[in-house]
């Protein structure tokens, strides 16, 4: 029986030392020493990595869990800065080329609510050719990953399209401290100059948001939250505008869990309203693809042969391969419809003017 962690020995020191050496030869240590080693090494590691731990705590959804984490890690961070131990982590990050994401702190996207210039019309999409493929961009969270992969599977080999897919798992527009989509989209638009952009956000956005005035709003049912989220959505839509670009904002599909579905519908209303105010934007309602006759969530729908096909993944949120393929085909149809409309308009114009 061993009631104590590290029983004191009454044997002479030389004997005790020999036994300790013998234990070490067998790779063994007493529990008390192991506990001390674990405690001290974890504390040391916490101090060295305090900045990263604070960043991780800040990236949690707004709420008591985040507040508790920050209450623990901020004092640790203070000690780490006083003792300069956090510099060791900085050195490690510098050695491996990790980007400095520190100091993001409060998740806020500042800037005024954007307004649509009255003279802006809907850009005319050109007809792609083998030598001049249409530049297509697909971006957003992990739901767009499924659709984007399917789009690549269907049209990736086509000489008519030059496709860029950029997704970031667990991201959205509420937490730019975690991933700054407005900045990433600005970079992507400058680099790829897409003529058609499909974006989908919202899968991770049903969480607390902090407005530029410091107001904290807990979720989509809060009027302050809606106002701030609409401001961010409108800002992203304006940032995506270019003279030769059509942007499709893909709405969230119906979700299996009722509460989440309700929040998704609130966000869809914002997407639809904001897109409706901008001629270069089109809101894509995904309920006809993924919902039943009333637009409610369904797991499976019949395919062309009448066999039931699962459209969603097990989580009731993401799209299965067949579901993603349906959405991808719908997106291709949207491009085709847009081109047909432009052709018809051009034909009407030339008939009228000719």
């Amino acid at each position: 029986m061993h009631a104590d962690l590290d029983r004191p020995s009454s044997r002479p020191p030389a004997v005790a030392r020999r036994r300790s050496q013998a234990r070490a030869r067998h790779g063994e240590q007493p529990a008390g020493r192991i506990l001390a080693a674990m405690l001290v090494s974890l504390s040391l590691a916490a101090l060295v990595n305090a900045d990263a731990l604070v960043q991780r705590a800040e990236s949690k959804p707004l709420g008591p869990a985040r507040d508790r984490s920050l209450a623990i890690w901020h004092p640790v961070q203070d000690v780490a800065h006083v003792t300069q131990l956090s510099r060791l982590r900085d050195l490690g990050d510098w050695l491996v080329g990790n980007e400095d994401e520190g100091g993001a702190g409060v998740p806020v996207v500042a800037g005024p609510t954007t307004t649509v210039p009255p003279e802006v019309g809907r850009p005319a999409l050109r007809t792609p050719a083998a030598g001049a493929p249409l530049r297509v961009y697909i971006g957003g969270d992990s739901i767009v990953r499924d659709a984007g992969d399917a789009f690549l599977r269907i049209a990736g080999d086509s000489p008519l399209f030059d496709i860029t897919l950029h997704y970031e798992n667990a991201t959205g527009l509420t937490r730019p401290d975690f991933f700054d989509w407005p900045a990433a989209l600005a970079d992507d638009m400058a680099a790829d100059r897409p003529e058609v952009a499909f974006v989908l956000f919202g899968g991770n956005d049903a969480q607390g948001i902090i407005a530029p005035d410091g107001g904290t709003y807990p979720g989509p049912s809060d009027p302050g939250w809606k106002q701030e989220y609409a401001r961010r959505v409108g800002g992203v839509m304006d940032a995506l505008r270019a003279d030769d670009r059509i942007v499709f904002w893909i709405g969230l599909p119906p979700m299996r869990e009722d509460g989440f579905n309700g929040r998704a519908e609130l966000m869809n209303t914002i997407f639809r309203d904001e897109a409706g105010r901008r001629p270069w934007m089109t809101y894509v309602d995904t309920h006809p693809i993924f919902g039943d006759e009333s637009g409610r969530y369904v797991e499976r729908k019949p395919d062309q042969k009448g066999d039931l096909v699962g459209l969603r993944q097990k989580d009731g949120i993401h799209l299965s391969s067949p579901g993603a393929e349906r959405l991808a085909r719908a997106l291709l149809d949207l491009i085709d419809d847009e081109i047909q409309t432009v052709r018809a308009t051009a034909s009407t114009t030339s008939t009228t003017t000719g």
Binding site: M1, H2, A24, H26, I34, L42, D315
Partner: protein, 479 residues
């Protein structure tokens, strides 16, 4: 609770101290460690704690009933055999409800639609409870071992800790009651804890899971398996090798941490991985990969099916059946069935070719080292071929991968020198001799306490610096 988190680090410190303080009071230790294990299980989502508790109580009831119906000499009786069967049916029924119900309902709905009836029973549509496969394996082996007269029933509190012990609870290794119970019941010596081995397992486990597995997954595996048509043959081929490394790093990393934590608590789990990618045959691979599952399948499936006792043809059939069922255990999907069939088929083929070869070519035709290299290359590539089906979301995607490897023409976009070096180093790590690892462990424990602390803190920092944001769930959590 996930292992590579701050929450688990704090939890484990408490569990370690409490465990060694209470170990002298056996009953109290049992209860407290069981409660801690349930806290570990229900930490993120307490929805299925009842399921674990039910499985424990049902297994205990069946264990007692089976033991009472055994013959006086401990032999089987018809009643004990029937009770064992009933226990297996109940355990598999519970597993089947959660794991296969939706699959069977889907198939049933398709079948009725085909004959014009169009019956669509409601789907369960619930997430699979974490660890259900693993605690079901423990439950089944416990009752069968009692039925075979190899084990005496445990008390309810002992069984509760055996089945719920947090290091093995959610993703193994699969530990037999006959291995766990004697260690649990015997007094443990807090002066002789193999900390060198335990810390080495935990540190390397964290590195494999958090750094290597996450890196190869995001850099190559996820993109190429997501859209094979968009990538060239080099990306696809290296993507398959990278997946072989990812699943090994992920799963062996998890079990290394589990084994290391259990060692610190005074319980030695059986080894679960033994450098599987140095195997020279498929049979050798299965002696090194997920060893506790291989052992379980052998003892509770392959041997009851007849093993190699009923002639060559039956042996081949049993091999293929065991591997196909093992494949379907991972999930009700054609991809897993094909994975199992490839392994079963090649195991049977390998056995046949070996016997044929030895009969006709008694003397080695090639130098031994060359033979070994050829065997290694063949074995590794058969395993990789099977991994394609295991990882792909459908058989069609798997064939797209294979087609792309054979005939893809696009230039490589994703393969980098760093990725190749990572894959090669991980493969090379399989050939590190055991005595070198043992020497490193001994050196660690001989270090001064301050140096040990520095080494441990540095290891944690390196993992955190090199790892990605957040921690992806372990692949085997979903099985």
């Amino acid at each position: 609770m996930l292992f590579p988190t701050v929450a688990f680090a704090v939890f484990f410190l408490i569990a370690f101290a409490v465990s060694w303080l209470l170990r002298p009071s056996y009953r109290v230790w049992l209860w407290v460690m069981t409660v801690l294990s349930f806290v570990f299980y229900g930490y993120a989502n307490a929805r299925f704690v009842w399921l674990l508790a039910t499985s424990i109580v049902v297994s205990w009831g069946f264990g007692m009933a089976v033991f009472r119906t055994l013959a006086a000499d401990g032999g089987r009786t018809p009643a004990s055999t029937n009770l064992v069967r009933a226990a297996v049916v109940v355990d598999l029924g519970l597993l089947g409800c959660f794991k296969y119900y939706d699959f069977f309902v889907d198939s049933f709905a398709d079948a009725t639609r085909a004959i014009g009836l169009g019956v669509s029973p409601p789907l369960l549509e619930v997430a699979l409870p974490v660890g259900i496969s693993f605690f079901t394996f423990h439950a089944i082996s416990y009752v069968i071992d009692i039925g075979r007269g190899q084990l005496r029933p445990l008390r309810l509190d002992e069984l509760a800790l055996y089945m719920s012990f947090f290091p093995h609870l959610v993703a193994g290794p699969i530990v037999r009651a006959s291995e766990f119970a004697p260690q649990m019941q015997a007094p443990a010596d807090p002066r002789h804890i193999p900390s060198g081995e335990a810390f080495r397992l935990i540190a390397f486990g964290l590195f494999k899971k958090v750094v290597v597995s996450s890196f190869v997954a995001t850099a190559l595996v996820d993109p190429v398996f997501g859209a094979p048509a968009a990538y060239g043959r080099l990306d696809l081929l290296v993507g398959v090798y990278a997946y072989a490394i990812q699943i090994y790093a992920d799963f062996s990393g998890y079990t290394d941490i589990a084994i290391g934590c259990a060692l610190l608590l005074g319980i030695r789990f059986p080894q679960n991985f033994n450098a599987p990618y140095r195997a020279l045959s498929l049979q050798d691979f299965w002696r090194r990969w997920h060893m506790t599952l291989s052992r379980w399948l052998r003892d509770y499936l392959y041997i009851p099916l007849g093993g190699n006792r009923d002639g060559v043809a039956r042996t081949y059939r049993n091999l293929v059946l065991t591997m196909v069922i093992g494949g379907l255990w991972h999930g009700a999907a054609t991809t897993f069935l094909v994975w199992g069939a490839i392994h079963g088929g090649f195991l049977a083929l390998e056995r046949y070719v070996k016997e044929w070869w030895h009969e006709r070519v008694p003397e080695p035709a090639l130098p031994a080292p060359l033979t070994a290299v050829l065997q290694w290359v063949l074995t590794f590539h058969v395993v990789c071929l099977a991994w394609i089906f295991f990882r792909a979301d459908s058989v069609g995607t798997a064939f797209d991968m294979i087609g792309g490897i054979v005939s893809g023409t696009q230039p490589s976009e994703l393969v980098t020198t760093f990725l190749l070096v990572t894959i090669i180093l991980m493969l090379a790590s399989q050939f590190v001799p055991a005595h070198a690892v043992e020497r490193a462990q001994q050196r660690f424990t001989a270090m001064a306490p301050a140096v040990q602390v520095g080494v441990l803190a540095s290891a944690l920092t390196i993992v955190d610096v090199l790892g990605p944001e957040g921690v992806a769930p372990f692949i085997y959590f979903r099985f």
